[in-house]
């Protein structure tokens, strides 16, 4: 810190900060100024600066007091605090006497510093009242400690209001759990002043407008503070409405229409304060409920006059936008508070008048978001309003139990209001610009949520109204096309989409009721009309989104007749996008392809007539490198889903081999003549290489999708007759068209023999997924390969692959073991182990992920088919050593895998008795790792060492293995543990705590658990002891 400063230098530095634009210079000067502010002479600096003529210097002086007090708060004595408080108060008074207005920013900073002193020190037991009642001190400084507020001049009154505002605003920034006493002091000494101030303002109408505005800001701060004070102490402002009566009365006093133009800021602030009270402290307004309703809603009252004034003068709307929004917030706050009453008294004329005002404000003129925000503000209220009808149904039925006439009237009124609201929002959600801003999208989304709720209440009536609107507008548009009608169609389709999407989100059954209404729209050529008249327009996107929510419709008898038109439309979108790739259009074509896929998967058996047409499109997509990979793969899946539904293996075989031949032709081109595929002459080599790689991987992806789409369903007996099953099995046993060979050809060509891909992960992933397609098939099929063939591929692949591919190879073998383990022979697995693990050990040991993957594979084999591995010499010679050495890692994911391996090995649930005996012998007899100890000893040594050394977050993973060992080999474990721990902790530790008794106690406690759950606690406690830590449970 810098105690050495010269006032001239400081003044010029401050002036520089406020005059230069050079950020480096400012930063440098600020660092200098901060160092002297924090120095032990900082306070003296503040004193000098506050007396400078420059306002910047004075402000900086006020700021310096704060910095100094924050820096030295612990070393300032109580006497010093009192005198500092007095001195700063003198500055405030002196500056306000000079000019409150022009010195205001300095005065506010000083008041904030005084507030800091008050908040920090009122609880420290200082024996004078300066810091307990700072306002009293202010009066004292004005020359009369018993002065009454009405005797203050305007400037003094303003200062008083500022002080009361700043104190409670600053308290909000503090930790409320330490402010209990401060809240009580404020309630006792400051709050009475506030009551006097508002009593005075309420009775004295001649005060300056500015004072009223300040007072309302002060009220806002206090009504926010009150909640904090009541939460953080025993004080209560709201239990008795009379306590706050002068404050509330003052707000009502301000809600006057007279002289609105001059008083608009006061009215606006009053609305904000009252909204806040209604939302946060509604009970205190209970005695004033009727009065407030009168002021807001009665004819000739403030509310109706205000509404009339703004609606009849467009200029006022523009000028008073914020004020109108504040007024609306107040109306909404009132409505929310009285919602139950409103819902249950809908036929009451007063309630109807209130709702009429709400509807009028909702229908405020202008475009939402852009011109007006009121309809947006009202959205949440109307949602609650509709929701309340849904939740209150039983009560309403009870109210009208025996009065059907009144009940009918009630529902007529309700429906009329709701229809009104829906029409308003339907209009409001019309697109009004080509470029839709995100805020308007958000608004439309919220409008849609209101319609979703309306559907819950009114069911299909709202849906049919929207459909009818689409139909009427379509007919009108077909006769006389115009922009306005198209926007009407778009808005209705948008809301239909959102309602439908919401229903499909939950279940399929509830959507069946919509089918007749949707059919009518399709009958009136909605797709054709939009497709012919609009290109690249929002209405296309909206229609597409609606179609994406309609697979249930196309699945129905009514809907299937429109699939041709729909497909034509969806394909045209994809093809147009391919011709004109744009960011926006990619999303659109992705939705198109997803919709096609959904329709094909849902209605596959009804779509067989589309096979020839679809085949042409799919073949073109396979041939054309420019199509998006995901779209290409989705369409292959769509096509094959339909082909599979034929249940005719001959036809399926023909379709599959046709596609595979196309794919293989393309692969030939990729490998031998890639330039023939690339169409963009301007692309760089890198871009072309990337494109070619993506395309090639996608060709493998297409094969994978053929495999996914031709998988047989789980309930095979329900899907194929006995004869079909026999035909399928026989056909694929023979595979006369060589489908499997064609698949293998593609895989081998790209994954093994094509250098640009052989060392990449993605092609291996696709190939492994292709093999996975057939693993679970109950009968033979195009993707059900002999296991020897898969292993053969994998053994070749591991000779030339990267680390990512190795993990995928291991994962595939895990899948094979899980699904077809009993068909894997020991020699095949041994060969694989040799190629993919033993020969690669050095490579694997350098990669933690591969260590984990290989341990996981071994665990799966041990768990599912241990006979494949436990008798192999390499298992005992290499795998077990590898698994012991893996204890050295601290990565949680490896530790989990290591522990799982040993747990599985020791329990060996599926092993034969000879294998279990073998494992037992290995553990207790065979000296595999250490020539002088059995494997079990080495395991316990590695286990306990790793356990102690691992972080606390990993310790839980170890418990199970300890428990299994204790349960299965109690005597051995007891001895091994004792020997190991005495050597490790007692002989090699300088800590006296680790003696023989410590070890014996732990081992005894652990053995007593017999491997039960209590062992966890014993181990946890042991780990804490070893690491000199304690349990941190609160």
């Amino acid at each position: 810190m810098n105690n050495d400063w010269n006032i001239e230098t400081v003044v010029s530095s401050i002036e520089l900060v406020y005059s230069t634009n050079d950020t480096d210079k400012i930063k440098q000067v600020q660092e200098y100024l901060q160092s002297i502010q924090k120095s032990s002479t900082g306070y003296q600096l503040g004193q000098v600066l506050i007396k400078q003529p420059s306002k910047y210097c004075r402000y900086f002086g006020a700021l310096t007091f704060t910095v100094f007090l924050n820096t030295y708060q612990d070393s300032i004595t109580s006497d010093q605090i009192t005198s500092i408080f007095d001195e700063l108060l003198d500055y405030v008074i002196s500056l306000s006497q000079e000019s409150l207005e022009s010195n205001l920013f300095i005065i506010k900073k000083l008041l904030s510093t005084l507030s800091l002193l008050f908040i920090d020190h009122n609880q420290t037991g200082i024996d004078n009242d300066v810091l307990i009642n700072p306002i009293q001190r202010y009066f004292y400084k004005l020359g009369n400690p018993n002065i009454i507020i009405s005797e203050l001049n305007d400037s003094q009154l303003k200062l008083l209001i500022y002080f009361h505002t700043i104190i409670v605003e600053d308290i909000r920034k503090r930790d409320n759990s330490k402010l209990s006493q401060t809240h009580e002091i404020i309630y006792k000494y400051l709050f009475p002043n506030l009551k006097h101030i508002f009593g005075l303002l309420d009775s004295n109408q001649h005060q300056q407008q500015e004072i009223h505005e300040l007072a309302l800001d002060c009220l806002f701060a206090w009504f926010t503070y009150i909640g904090i004070a009541e939460h953080g102490s025993k004080v209560s402002y709201t239990v008795d409405p009379q306590i706050l009566q002068p404050l509330i009365q003052y707000t009502f006093y301000n809600l006057k229409f007279d002289d609105l133009e001059n008083r608009i800021a006061i009215v606006s602030k009053t609305c904000t304060v009252l909204s806040q009270i209604l939302e946060e402290h509604p009970l205190i307004l209970n005695p004033y409920k009727t009065l407030l309703a009168q002021i807001l809603f009665e004819e000739n009252s403030f509310g109706s006059k205000f509404l009339h004034a703004i609606l009849s003068n467009k200029d006022l709307i523009d000028i008073y936008q914020q004020e109108i929004e504040n007024f609306t917030d107040l109306i909404i706050a009132y409505l929310n508070l009285n919602l139950v009453y409103i819902i249950r008294n809908l036929t009451n004329p007063q309630v109807l008048r209130i709702l009429d005002i709400a509807v009028t404000l909702t229908n405020f003129p202008g475009r939402p978001i852009e011109d007006e925000k009121l309809s947006d503000q009202f959205l949440v209220f109307w949602e609650e309003f509709i929701n309340m009808f849904i939740e209150d149904t039983d009560v309403i039925n009870e109210i009208f139990k025996e009065d059907t006439v009144s009940k009918q009237k009630y529902f007529e009124i309700r429906n009329e209001i709701l229809i009104n609201i829906s029409i308003i929002y339907w209009k409001k959600c019309h697109i009004f610009s080509d470029k839709i801003v995100p805020e308007f999208r958000h608004y439309r989304s919220k409008v849609a949520e209101v319609f979703q709720l309306l559907y819950s209440l009114l069911n299909t009536s709202i849906y049919s109204t929207l459909c009818k609107n689409v139909i009427d507008t379509l007919v009108a548009f077909q006769n006389t096309p115009n922009q306005e009608l198209s926007l009407d169609i778009e808005a209705s389709l948008f809301l239909l989409f959102k309602v439908t999407d919401d229903l499909t989100f939950y279940d399929d059954e509830s959507t069946q009721i919509l089918i007749p209404y949707l059919e009518e729209i399709f009958q009136h050529k909605v797709i054709e009309t939009i497709d012919e008249n609009f290109k690249n327009n929002q209405i296309n996107i909206t229609l597409l989104n609606l179609l994406s929510s309609l697979p249930f419709f196309f699945k129905s008898r009514s809907g299937e007749q429109y699939i041709t038109t729909t497909f034509n439309y969806l394909f045209s979108i994809i093809i147009e996008q391919q011709q004109q790739p744009q960011k926006q259009q990619t999303g659109v074509s992705l939705i198109s392809s997803k919709t096609i896929l959904k329709i094909c998967q849902n209605s596959r058996s009804k779509l067989t007539q589309f096979l020839p047409q679809l085949e042409n499109i799919v073949v073109e997509m396979i041939r054309n490198i420019e199509f998006d990979s995901l779209i290409r793969e989705r369409l292959v899946n769509s096509f094959m889903s339909i082909a599979q539904s034929l249940k005719d293996p001959l036809k399926l075989g023909e379709v599959v081999i046709h596609l595979l031949n196309q794919i293989n032709q393309q692969i030939e081109l990729v490998v031998h003549n890639p330039n023939q595929l690339l169409t963009s002459p301007d692309s760089t080599k890198e871009e072309n290489d990337q494109k070619m790689e993506d395309y090639t991987v996608s060709l493998l992806g297409c094969i994978n999708e053929i495999g996914n789409a031709t998988k047989l369903p789980e309930e095979l007996e329900d899907y194929l007759t006995v004869e079909q099953k026999y035909q399928t099995e026989s056909y694929w046993n023979e595979d006369t068209l060589g489908v499997k060979q064609a698949i293998l050809q593609s895989i081998n060509q790209l994954s093994l023999n094509y250098p640009p891909l052989s060392l990449k992960t993605l092609p291996t992933e696709k190939c492994c997924n292709i093999f996975k397609c057939g693993l679970n098939e109950p009968i033979n099929g195009p993707f059900k390969f002999e296991l020897a063939i898969i292993f053969q591929y994998l053994m070749v692949k591991v000779q030339n692959c990267n680390s990512g591919s190795m993990s995928l190879v291991y994962k595939l073998v895990e899948s094979i073991i899980i699904t077809n383990g009993k068909h894997v022979s020991i020699p095949i697995f041994e060969s694989f182990l040799s190629s993919a693990f033993l020969n690669k050990l050095t490579f694997i040991e350098q990669d933690v992920d591969l260590i984990k993957s290989s341990l996981d594979l071994f665990s799966t084999v041990l768990e599912k088919h241990p006979s494949l591995i436990v008798n192999l010499p390499s298992f005992q010679n290499v795998v077990l050593k590898f698994a012991i050495s893996s204890f050295k890692f601290k990565e949680s994911y490896i530790i989990r895998s290591v522990i799982k391996f040993w747990n599985t090995l020791i329990t060996l649930k599926r092993g034969q008795s000879s294998e279990q005996q073998l494992i037992q012998d290995l553990i207790v007899k065979e000296h595999i790792i250490d020539p002088s100890h059995p494997l079990g000893y080495s395991l316990v040594l590695s286990l306990i060492t790793s356990f102690i050394d691992n972080p606390r977050s990993n310790t839980e993973y170890f418990y199970q293995l300890f428990r299994v060992l204790v349960a299965k080999y109690p005597l051995y474990i007891k001895n091994w543990l004792r020997v190991i721990l005495i050597h490790k902790l007692v002989d090699n530790s300088t800590n006296d705590k680790f003696n023989n008794a410590f070890v014996d106690t732990f081992v005894s406690k652990l053995m007593l658990t017999r491997g039960q759950r209590q062992a966890n606690d014993v181990l946890k406690s042991f780990w804490l002891d070893c690491n000199n830590l304690v349990e941190y449970k609160s």
């Binding site: 958000h442 939950y506 994911y893």
Partner: protein, 160 residues
């Protein structure tokens, strides 16, 4: 009404009053048509200018009976590609962990925003799945390609 249900009612109210643009969150319906506030389906839009953009990723949020004392369980679909998402789809995020940063005051809005933030900012200290974690740490171009591929799968057309 239980504390859990009261809080969930409040969460639903607050969500409807104010939720971030592009997100959705809805309680599921039980077989009798009533809302089950303890299970929600929600959608997380990928942040603009990230690999995750132009898509909305579905999540399932299950609130335990002890909520808000205990955090909800949040899951993407099984197999979701992200370093901090388990193969089952369960998200590994400190604010969703009772023993880490979960606090009863954390709102649904904060949860979904936290999940959105996690998408493009994986936590290197909490690997939850091997493929994405490995690619993220060792083969960034593969990671980016897979994330883009996944984004296309969950792509949305601008529909409001």
């Amino acid at each position: 009404m239980s504390l859990c249900n009261t809080r969930l009612q409040e969460e639903r109210k607050q969500w409807r009053k104010d939720h971030p643009f592009g997100f959705y969150a809805k309680p599921v319906k039980d077989s009798d048509g009533s809302l089950n506030l303890k299970i929600w389906n929600a959608g997380i839009p990928g942040k603009a200018t990230t690999l995750w953009q132009d898509a909305v990723y579905p999540i399932n949020i299950t609130f335990p009976d002890e909520y808000p004392s205990k955090p909800p369980k949040v899951k993407f679909p099984a197999g979701f590609y992200h370093p901090n998402v388990y193969p089952s789809g369960t998200i590994c995020l400190s604010i969703l962990n009772e023993e880490q940063d979960w606090r009863p005051a954390i709102t649904l809005k904060q949860i979904v925003l936290g999940v959105q933030e996690l998408l493009d900012s994986p936590n290197p200290d909490s690997p939850a799945q091997e493929p994405a974690w490995k690619a993220f740490s060792k083969d960034r171009s593969l990671y980016e390609k897979k994330v883009r591929e996944q984004a296309k799968k969950y792509a949305n057309a601008d529909s409001s």
